[in-house]
């Protein structure tokens, strides 16, 4: 058994930011456990730019963004174990992991930060009929083949799902000489960032077909084509709209799922909408001393927000380890209402002396609506919004004086209004 003050599971942007913040706050023995060969997480394969605009005020590629944090980690005495897979985390904060050099290791930590990221929804979950040919893969897998391994996973491509990775890969494949025939999106709107639709599709004349899905795959060995069809407002394919498109590759960008297997094993409660842990304003889960941040907590669209969220978790873990969070705590719930799908954090301490930022997503596209925040039955803000979209995470600030005015039975509600 090795003792650490803090064990951080995952060395992507979330894990690194959390560990660095905890270090800054005075935590001594910290270890980051990373399953890949290097720190950086999924950023290492995101060679496009667009990272860091909010946090650093400059446009960086994924590896550049990661490198800034990797350098900072190297300047500290934070231990880093790469090629290390965590097998379990227990409620008493024992972490079991394996790698090729140490073998099986057990770490007893005072606090744990979960920063395992997310995975892509695979084909099986979509129930697309047809053959099981090669050439059907998630956009992230394709991205790894192209950007890390240096091989083309296809030449004629159809992309299902207009999530950001799908949009980025549409451009990437085009630049590598592949023909991206169409991006199909089941919903009547794209789940990706507007800037990606403009820069990755429009600039390359790649058609985006909304309310359209892939209903069948063809080809016995390598994929030879797909049948696409329009869908009605219940998302069911409309007979007669089927269209065959010849392609050798179908890339799926149909959603991300937080990787919470370790979280579940530890008995931590999850939010049914985010598929991440239920946390308080310091990103502490319902298991004392276990925190969660980044895409394992909620799927973000910008890494900058991952960094900010993880710094909160790092600070929270530091306070927990250093015994600085012993003040009175009265938690109340945050409640997503009309049009708002979820809110993170799900509960906040009204005795907190600081402003608290709530992050959330809406469930559909809204134009010229108001975002209203109600606390303890009183509307505390109502902001006009030209556009709200599920693809773009929103946030509101709850000032500390508003929190101080609330009682233990109150709630904070966020909703979309006319």
């Amino acid at each position: 058994m090795i003792n650490y003050d803090l064990a951080v599971i995952g060395g992507g942007p979330a894990g690194m930011a959390a560990a660095l913040k905890a270090k800054e706050c005075g935590v001594e023995k910290i270890v980051i456990l990373e399953r890949a060969e290097t720190l950086g997480g999924i950023l290492e394969q995101c060679i496009h730019t667009g990272f860091g605009l909010h946090y650093f005020g400059e446009e960086l590629s994924g590896p550049e963004y990661a490198a800034k944090f990797i350098d900072l980690v190297k300047e500290t005495d934070i231990d880093v174990k790469v090629n290390t897979m965590v097998l379990s985390v227990s409620e008493d904060k024992t972490v079991t992991a394996v790698n090729t050099s140490d073998g099986l290791i057990k770490i007893q930590a005072k606090a744990v930060i979960l920063a395992m990221g997310c995975r892509e929804r695979p084909r099986g979950a979509l129930q697309i009929a047809g053959t099981r040919a090669s050439g059907i893969m998630t956009a992230g897998t394709a991205q790894k083949y192209v950007n890390i391994d240096g091989y083309m996973p296809g030449k004629k491509v159809v992309i299902l799902g207009s999530g950001d990775i799908g949009l980025i890969m549409a451009r990437r494949m085009t630049l590598e000489g592949a023909e991206v025939k169409v991006v199909c999106e089941l919903m009547p709107f794209s789940g990706g960032l507007t800037r990606n639709i403009v820069q990755c599709l429009n600039d390359f004349n790649i058609p985006l077909r909304l309310s359209t899905t892939v209903i069948e795959t063809h080809g016995k060995e390598r994929l030879e084509g797909v049948t696409i069809a329009q869908v009605d407002d219940k998302l069911c394919p409309i007979p007669g709209t089927e269209e065959y498109i010849e392609c050798d590759t179908l890339m799926l960008s149909v959603g991300l799922i937080p990787e919470n297997e370790l979280t579940k094993q530890a008995g931590i409660s999850l939010d049914r909408i985010t598929n991440g842990a239920i946390v308080n304003e310091m990103r502490e889960t319902d298991c004392d001393g276990i925190f969660a941040c980044g895409n394992v907590l909620q799927v973000h669209d910008l890494v900058d927000y991952v960094t900010l969220e993880s710094q909160i978790a790092g600070e929270g873990a530091a306070r927990y380890i250093l015994g600085k969070d012993s003040g009175e705590k009265v938690y109340i719930k945050t409640v997503p209402e009309n049009g708002v799908r979820y809110i993170v954090p799900q509960k906040v301490n009204i005795k907190s002396k600081e402003d608290i930022k709530l992050y959330f997503r809406v469930g559909a596209i809204y134009k010229n609506k108001k975002l209203t925040v109600e606390a303890g039955g009183k509307v505390i803000s109502s902001k006009k919004k030209v556009k709200l979209a599920p693809g773009e995470m929103e946030n509101v600030v709850i000032p500390s004086d508003v929190l101080a005015s609330l009682g233990g039975t109150d709630t904070i509600k966020v909703r979309v209004e006319d």
């Binding site: 097998l87 099986l104 892509e120 695979p122 009929a129 091989y151 209903i215």
Partner: protein, 476 residues
């Protein structure tokens, strides 16, 4: 020249190869695909049936009941997971209850032990998640579950270890017979054998025809399935059948030995014997009928769907033994359900047939009918894991995070006798890529390990042989 060439490395061919490998004869196991278990064996329900379905006195009935009784021991020797979980045929009306009586009586005549007709109350106690509208069920405690491709992989490994030559990517194009032998013209060149065992699944009639036997007619009958996540694997503990019809045993809901839940199959006769595409209508049928037995099952928990083909002979009976038209051809055709259950018995039956036609056949002294258990990191205790990594550090690198599969296990799968040559082959042997992310993360790593171990470039690696390549040229 081989004494025996077995065409088709499905469960029948591989189990027969293993059984014959105990003798001092030269055997080839020919497979047209890149791996064993690529046809009907790959995609079926994985049920070891008790044996009350097949007609009294039929070969099917005899093989099934005998095979079922042999399965536990066979799986033990081959270190293949087997679970004797019992089956329930559920009735939803008085009329169906009467049908259960018929099945019961037939079972008794077939020699199925310990069956019972149970009441609604007993049934719901055994399986609380069943539709409360059930009337009762036929309980057959001898039924079990086994993974069909694991059994086949293990049998092929055992056969190869005992001297059988496994030749993959070997499709028979044409054949001729003379007084001494059969000559098969294959995609791997000419292969001569004194006797040919036709275990070619849905293509058994085509092969028989090449060898002058036009008495067989095999129809490919497609069955579509959903495989659900392990989180709902315990919804039922017994295999749940509905009352059978003339197209088969209907849509079942069953646990798999790996702990997933399986629902299916449909039954649809098709013309193209290589068409294993799933269909929207087929998958809808599975959802509808599975929900009748177990209302809570939902395709929302599906991690994948797939379909397979049954090799249905017109008479719905196994065709086993020396062909009437060609004395050098031994048929093992029409092996549809309960073919998997029957496999150990069919292997013995065919082995006896070979013994009756080949003179001077003796049991080898060094024959070993076992297969060593493969390393299964996910099933080990932490102490065992620590010990293992100390001996070989490649077991300390997890490749598939969903199923906790190590690099060492993948290397073992590639290096095994009749080992994996493609991504799906690694998946079937180790479960890498079979979990929630379906290979999203580990797929590219498996490709790299295959290329490294096989000494080829990564763009030569396929998903399942043929033109199922995963990567094209290098990027610009």
């Amino acid at each position: 020249m081989y004494d025996v060439a077995i065409v088709g490395a499905g469960v029948t061919g591989a189990m027969t190869a293993r059984e014959l490998s105990k003798y001092n004869i030269k055997i080839a196991l020919l497979e047209k695909c890149n791996d064993v278990a690529m046809g009907s064996t790959k995609a079926n329900s994985g049920i070891v049936h008790a044996g009350f379905d097949a007609a009294e006195g039929s070969l099917m009935a005899k093989m099934n009941v005998k095979g079922c009784s042999m399965m536990a021991e066979t799986c033990k020797k081959l270190n293949v997971p087997y679970k004797n979980n019992g089956s329930l045929v559920v009735a939803f009306s008085e009329e169906e209850m009467k049908h259960l009586d018929t099945l019961f009586e037939r079972g008794v005549k077939n020699g199925v032990p310990d069956m019972k007709i149970i009441s609604k109350d007993e049934l719901l106690k055994m399986e609380p998640n069943l539709n409360p509208d059930v009337f009762g069920a036929l309980y057959a405690p001898t039924a079990g579950i086994v993974c069909p491709y694991e059994l086949t992989i293990a049998a092929a490994e055992c056969a190869v270890k005992n001297g059988v030559e496994f030749i993959r990517n070997c499709e028979v194009k044409s054949a001729k017979t003379d007084d001494e032998k059969i000559t098969l013209d294959t995609t791997q060149g000419e292969i001569e054998a004194k006797y040919v065992i036709n275990a070619a699944g849905v293509f058994a009639d085509d092969l028989a025809r090449m060898l002058g036997d036009d008495t067989l007619h095999i129809t490919a009958r497609k069955g579509e399935y959903f495989l659900l996540d392990k989180s709902v694997g315990n919804t039922v503990s017994h295999t749940i059948f509905q009352c059978p019809s003339k197209m088969g045993k209907g849509i079942l809901v069953a646990q798999t030995v790996d702990g997933n839940l399986l629902m299916g199959p449909t039954a649809e006769d098709i013309d193209d014997k290589s068409n294993v595409a799933t269909t929207n209508s087929g998958l809808d049928t599975v959802k509808k009928f599975a929900a009748k037995s177990v209302p809570s099952v939902s395709a929302r928990n599906a991690i994948t769907s797939f379909s397979g083909l049954r090799a249905h002979a017109d008479a719905h009976e196994f065709i086993l033994g020396v062909s009437e038209k060609n004395p050098r051809l031994i048929n093992a055709a029409g092996i549809e359900s309960p073919g998997l259950s029957s496999a150990p018995a069919i292997a013995e039956y065919l082995s006896d047939t070979v013994k009756s036609v080949l003179s001077d056949i003796k049991i080898k002294e060094n024959y070993d009918d076992t297969r060593k258990a493969p390393v299964r990191f996910r099933h080990m205790t932490d102490d065992e894991r620590a010990e293992l990594i100390k001996k070989n550090s490649s077991y300390g690198r997890i490749i598939c995070r969903c199923e906790t599969v190590t690099e060492g296990e993948i290397i073992d799968a590639i290096k095994a006798p009749a080992g994996a040559r493609d991504v799906d082959g690694v998946k079937r042997r180790t479960r890498a890529g079979m979990g929630r992310c379906q290979g999203g993360f580990c797929g590219s790593k498996v490709v790299e390990i295959l290329a490294r171990e096989l000494g080829c470039d990564i763009n030569e690696i396929t998903k399942f042989g043929g033109n199922s390549n995963i990567l094209f040229d290098k990027t610009k």
